[in-house]
């Protein structure tokens, strides 16, 4: 026990005294969080730009609550120059231009941007229909309530923060296992430790404790920045992220141990760890949400430890699923940990 705590303390101090670790495992993933966070801040509630030519009664005379709804959907600029307005639609500067001649509402759109054109047509059409119903004086028979399947706070930050956290933790655990063991093998510290009465299990367990603690620090920092700066909303069972991260640390530590065992130098170990983690981060939706990704990519991600971790983090932290939703990913991560751990144990070398 003495030996275990001594090794853990030594590694913990050594870790935080290395500025490289601060940068690569804290600042670097946080930079991505800030970058994506600011870039996509308003993407969830994106409005269409609309130029209003002259007076358009159907917009100008909307009742107050309908007007608020309209303003949430459209960014309106007014002009009297019809030709210029249509030209700017053609150039793609605005999504559409609208004018009203008598009872005819005319919408100018660009065929080059069919997605926005369809959206503007649909939305504006709904307002025209509503106006028609209102004029008829009868209450509408059918109503349509469109409700998002997710919590309605699901803005991009909700996807980004868990994905990037998963990536940061995966990197941390992998590098923290790969690098020290190579360094310790080359500078003979591993041999020196082996000459003390400490158990081999204590050595591995102390590394694990340090890696788990680092992962939890990463989680706290990520959540603090996400909640504080970008209004990240955590759903009920977010705390299940803690056991998820512990299981993930086990799996990625085993991967790191393999990388360390097959490398002669710390540089090579870091290279191998990068080659494993970076592509995995892309395929597992750490940088881009997988919901719109092709099905084959979603399938691949299910077979990657980071894919499982990200799925578990999303479910518990932002999708509002119960604690039970973390069980499958945790089981999968433990499975990866066992398989990779056995390989690592076979490849492990005390000496070069």
């Amino acid at each position: 026990m003495n030996g275990f705590m001594a090794l853990a303390r030594a590694q913990w101090k050594g870790f935080w005294r290395d500025k490289q670790n601060w940068f690569w495992l804290m600042a670097f993933p946080l930079m991505f969080l800030l970058l994506f966070g600011f870039l996509l801040r308003d993407a969830g509630a994106s409005k269409n730009t609309l130029t209003q030519i002259g007076s358009v009664a159907i917009i100008d005379q909307l009742p107050p609550e309908a007007k608020t709804q309209f303003d949430n959907l459209f960014d309106v600029t007014k002009t009297t120059d019809a030709a210029a307005a249509v030209e700017s639609v053609r150039k793609g500067d605005v999504d559409a231009a609208v004018e009203q001649r008598g009872n005819e509402v005319i919408l100018h759109y660009s065929q080059a941007d069919q997605v926005n054109a369809a959206r503007v047509q649909g939305t504006l059409g709904a307002f025209v229909d509503a106006a028609n119903v209102a004029i008829s004086g009868k209450p509408p028979t059918f109503t349509l309530d469109a409700v998002a399947a997710e919590d309605n706070s699901l803005k991009p930050i909700q996807f980004i923060a868990p994905g990037l956290l998963g990536w940061a933790v995966a990197m941390g655990a992998t590098f923290n296992a790969a690098m020290p063991f190579v360094t310790w093998r080359t500078n003979k510290l591993l041999r020196r430790i082996r000459l003390t009465p400490v158990r081999t299990e204590s050595l591995v367990a102390s590394r694990l404790l340090v890696s788990v603690a680092v992962a939890l620090v990463q989680m706290v920092v990520f959540l603090a920045v996400g909640v504080g700066l970008f209004d990240l909303k955590l759903s009920g069972s977010w705390w299940m992220a803690i056991p998820l991260l512990v299981c993930a640390t086990l799996a990625f530590m085993a991967i790191g141990l393999i990388a360390g065992a097959i490398s002669r130098t710390a540089e090579a170990a870091s290279g191998i760890a990068n080659v494993i983690i970076l592509p995995m981060a892309f395929l597992s939706g750490s940088f881009i949400p997988l919901d719109q990704a092709p099905p084959w990519l979603q399938t691949i991600s299910k077979f990657l430890p980071l894919g499982q971790l990200n799925e578990g983090l999303l479910d518990t932290m932002v999708r509002g699923e119960g604690p039970g939703s973390a069980m499958m990913p945790m089981a999968a991560l433990l499975g990866f940990a066992v398989v990779f751990g056995l390989i690592a144990a076979r490849l492990f070398r005390w000496e070069d």
């Binding site: 001594a6 101090k13 005294r17 041999r191 000459l195």
Partner: protein, 300 residues
């Protein structure tokens, strides 16, 4: 005296190379034992086999009568090992390194200060090991190997790559360790170091132990002649040749060199003639022993 270390027919091969070739060593308790040989002679591998960190291909090594391989955790608290490389935890200070090793051996933390004092690193307590000089690192690594008060200490080339002053400082530390009653096993490729420090020396070359004895016996055993050097003019070359016991005398570059196997009568005769001024007596050295044993010049 009982032997605390014994090896029986130790063999270690690396491919075609036999790094350690049937080595038998016995080290009595309290001895300062030196394993002397040129680089690549098999000193370090022999030491590693004795420490139990390598598996021998043949034979066995015993410490306190117990087998060292496979890893014998009961034995480890009784031996201290200093490795060639500076094996320290990254970015820890001198005191923190010692603390970690103290806890690994579960010994009281009061040992830390004693060790720092022993190796003279009092003013480096809070300095990170990366910022220490080569000599300071060696001393810290010796302190780490002594933290648990072991009965046997293994030192692998502790003075390699040190400047002469640092070497001498370290010699004092090593003598102090041995004076406390510990058995010390040292590898070195410095003849003078082995001669000055060790009670017993095993000369090793190409994986084989050539001979084991005290430095004195090794040298006198050669039966080599003494050389007595005098300044020119103390006695004439002619007169010198006639002195009792002198086998030859020759004048070279202002120095008169006499060769003899019996220095006592020669020195007495010289004293009678009041010719001792600037006198030097040199005997054979371990280098001559090595030359005799291998037929090769010693090249560290």
């Amino acid at each position: 005296m009982t032997n605390v270390i014994e090896t029986r027919g130790l063999v270690k091969r690396y491919g075609d190379l036999t790094a350690v070739d049937h080595v038998d060593i016995a080290v009595p308790q309290g001895t300062f034992f030196g394993l002397l040989g040129p680089n690549g002679a098999g000193k370090t591998t022999t030491l590693e086999l004795i420490e139990g960190i390598r598996e021998p291909d043949e034979g066995e090594a015993l410490i306190f009568g117990e087998k060292v391989w496979p890893r014998n955790r009961a034995l480890l608290p009784r031996i201290g090992v200093q490795l060639q490389a500076s094996a320290f935890f990254e970015r820890l200070t001198v005191a923190e390194q010692l603390r970690c090793f103290a806890e690994l051996y579960a010994v009281p933390l009061t040992r830390i200060d004693r060790m720092i004092e022993l190796v003279g690193l009092e003013d480096k307590r809070t300095v990170r090991t990366e910022d220490l000089s080569g000599g300071q690192k060696q001393r810290l690594s010796i302190a780490c190997s002594l933290i648990h008060d072991p009965e046997i200490v293994f030192l692998d080339e502790p003075t390699a790559a040190l400047d002469p002053q640092a070497r001498r400082n370290l010699w004092d530390v090593l003598r102090a360790i041995n004076a406390e009653g510990r058995t010390v096993v040292l590898t070195t490729h410095y003849m003078d170091e082995a001669e000055i420090l060790c009670d017993q020396i095993a000369i090793i070359d190409r994986g084989k132990i050539l001979t084991t004895d005290t430095p004195r016996n090794l040298i006198t055993g050669l039966g080599a002649a003494y050389r007595i050097l005098l300044s020119e003019g103390a006695v004439s070359e002619e007169e010198a040749n006639r002195l009792p016991g002198v086998e030859s005398a020759s004048l070279d570059n202002g120095t008169l060199a006499l060769t003899t196997h019996e220095p006592s009568p020669v020195l007495t005769a010289l004293a009678e003639r009041d010719a001792l001024h600037g006198l030097q007596v040199t005997s054979a050295t371990l280098e001559d022993v090595f030359l005799t044993l291998t037929g090769r010049e010693y090249r560290a």
